[in-house]
Subunit: 217 residues, 2 copies
DNA sequence: TGTACATCAGTGAACGCGCGTTCACTGATGTAC
DNA sequence: TGTACATCAGTGAACGCGCGTTCACTGATGTAC
């Protein structure tokens, strides 16, 4: 059944615990509260022993970043099954950000100093929502924006990026995708980072609705 | 002429230098590169002497934040004199963010842990652009958005915030203001924080144009 | 099934890091009479 | 205009902080024959 030795079992269990504890620390105290020593402490092992499981602090961050990207993308996946719309994407991301504000900041806030995400580990989970959104905007039934388009070659870099993700978007879709993405994340950032002052918590969903409808969706 | 003693002169000069050095450090190494000890070092005084000029590190941050808000708002002010449009606001902020990416992150990125901006020192400079934008959107010639509006009382918190800034916006303007603001800052954040992958630097202005036109301006 | 060796989890001590911040002090500048 | 005192800039030593990371080590688990 298990098809693996006790040692391997224990290792998997410990790795899972590290992710759990790391997330708990992140939720509780933000990134600055996440430390290898702290995790070792909670695991009940000596501080240097953590290096049996994690190469260094940045590797731990990569784990947490992947996990956050996966979590929010799963949430959006689920929600889209019931209602396949741009608004649902926005509202679901917004709800997730409310539950996990520090994880939100980790993936969509200011980049972490001295940290470089390894592309092969983060690109796929980190772009899942963007892919969903682009596909949504590419559906013929969806009216894409009336925005002026820049000369075709200008969007080359973006087009290539999306092609690597298996998409074949035309220029209108690229522009719409970038625009909706920026606006949705911008609104959530503004809300999470408190840029509209206090008392706005009650209206978050309404603001998202207004934004998405202004964008024409 | 001077109407002040040499000591006062020297103090003013030193204070100005502190802002200059702090900004230079911020530009060069980001927030983590800004330290009281480092500034003292550059001033050629002993590390504890810096406390004659700055109460503590957070007070220094407040100085830098005020300065950044003032700088970007001045830039927008100037630009609006030549062309009073939403696009100009966006393009000017974008250009400023390109010149001062770390200052941009300081004021519009993830909030700084353990730092609380003193409202009386940062609210006015921090809201200047928002005020300009809201006034722009309130002009009768500007078509405000076709977005669905939430029930009037829902926007109370936002309306009060704007009223404290001397504005009397109706609900359409409030919604438009929040939407445009979020979207513009969201796009700039996405660009500055590298969320669209490499090679997008060439098209920044075009993306801003597309965004603003999608928003109906 | 038993033995010999290899792998791996965990130990304990130690570095270096540079920072923010406090404190009692000295000597120069400013001010009141 | 000169003197006595108050203010203020700058000194130098010292704390505490908790972290990431390395290293040589022990003892338990896994594997090959």
């Amino acid at each position: 059944m298990t098809n693996s030795t006790p040692r391997q079992q224990a290792r998997l269990e410990t790795e899972a615990q590290i992710t759990r504890i790391g997330n708990r620390m992140l939720d509780a105290d933000g990134l600055e509260g996440v430390s290898l020593r702290g995790i070792a402490r909670e695991l009940g092992i000596v501080s240097s022993a953590i290096y049996r499981y994690v190469k260094n602090r940045n590797a731990l961050l990569t784990i947490l970043i992947r996990d956050a990207f996966t979590s929010i993308a799963d949430a959006v996946d689920d929600a889209l099954e019931h209602d396949n719309s741009v608004l649902t994407v926005g509202v679901t991301m917004l709800a997730w950000s409310r539950t996990h504000p520090n994880r939100w900041a980790l993936i969509y806030g200011t980049p972490i100093p001295d940290y470089q995400a390894p592309r092969d580990e983060t690109v796929v989970p980190g772009t899942r929502i963007m892919v969903l959104l682009t596909n949504l905007l590419a559906e013929p039934t969806v009216q894409t924006s009336r925005s002026q388009l820049p000369p075709t070659h200008a969007l080359d870099a973006l087009r290539e990026g999306l092609q690597e993700l298996g998409l074949e978007p035309d220029d209108r879709v690229i522009m719409a995708s970038v625009t909706v993405w920026s606006a949705v994340i911008g609104l959530i950032n503004a809300l999470r980072f408190g840029q509209f002052g206090p008392g706005v918590e009650q209206v978050e969903d309404e603001l998202m609705q207004g934004l998405v409808s202004t964008l024409g969706h």
